[in-house]
Assembly symmetry: C2
């Protein structure tokens, strides 16, 4: 996926209304009532925002050829009319995680935590865009944005529960779960 920078602006304006905001682990983020998503860099003070989180779409870090084919065949695009629910989940992983060699991170990520296989079970119900921020000097390493229809809300809860029970999540230092509805 080509590099594209997105800014998630948390505050009082924006297309997405916050329905629930929870600190899963680590330092909380300031509570906000709306989130706007801009396809550009932006400045918090300029936006009157409580915070701005930035991330870029980038190449795949762990997905192998077969997994990529499975994902490409089934993953939906964002912005579908029925997908009026969303989640923004910023995550930071520990220094221990980042110090592991690539093969050990891959083994934890997929062979032992089944991150990709679990995700595939919830396609095409849940659309997703992953933003990387480890290189940007941001407070989080990843921002994942999910969109789904109200009838898939329970399935989405299962998905996040399964991932949080995995070995991979032992390396998550900070995680905020923000749920939203469009409009």
């Amino acid at each position: 996926m080509a590099r594209c920078l997105f800014s998630f602006v948390g505050g009082v304006v924006g297309r997405w209304q916050v329905t629930h905001m929870e600190t899963v682990i680590g330092t909380p983020l300031e509570q906000i009532i709306r989130v706007d998503i801009l396809e550009e860099d932006t400045n918090p003070s300029q936006e009157g925002a409580a915070w701005v989180l930035r991330g870029v779409t980038s190449y795949e870090r762990y997905v192998n050829k077969d997994e990529k084919q499975s994902l490409t065949a089934i993953q939906p695009v964002l912005d579908q009319p029925q997908a009026t629910c969303a989640a923004l989940i910023p995550i930071k992983k520990s220094a221990i995680w980042w110090g592991l060699p690539q093969d050990e991170r891959r083994a934890i990520f997929e062979e032992r935590s089944h991150h990709i296989q679990i995700g595939l079970q919830y396609l095409p119900a849940v659309a997703r865009r992953l933003h990387h921020c480890h290189e940007l000097g941001e407070p989080f390493d990843f921002l994942t944005w999910f969109e789904y229809a109200p009838e898939d809300a329970e399935a989405f809860e299962q998905l996040t529960r399964k991932l949080r029970e995995s070995e991979e999540w032992q390396y998550v230092d900070r995680e905020i779960d923000i749920r939203l509805i469009r409009g």
Copy 2:
């Protein structure tokens, strides 16, 4: 390796004097006579520089556990008194490379191009720091900085020649080779 941002400032001032500058492939960079390395972000106009290239140290993308142990045991640190020669080699890889899944990139990088194994042959003579810039929206994907003693200059030529002959280098779109001496 923890994230640390470096700016390579090309112009008329700085600790490193350019002895040779060559466009290996793609669009040239403006010729300069000195390079300064700052451990911070900086602005070209502020520095009176021809260009500034930025990159961050980051986690390993391809190195496995055994390779990491071999590298850690033998790789020297930068800034050794006898290492008065340096090279700054900015590289950009093609969209085809970045579109490949992780396992295919790893196979090209190491199993077929022997990037790590070739590098190990020139340790501890050549010290190296890799800076990532793919996520930063910079003109290159990587900036590699090398330091070595004058008596290892021919070994360094061999190293770059071997890598440029590899399959991995077929995915290099743009490469500039800048050689420098300290002082």
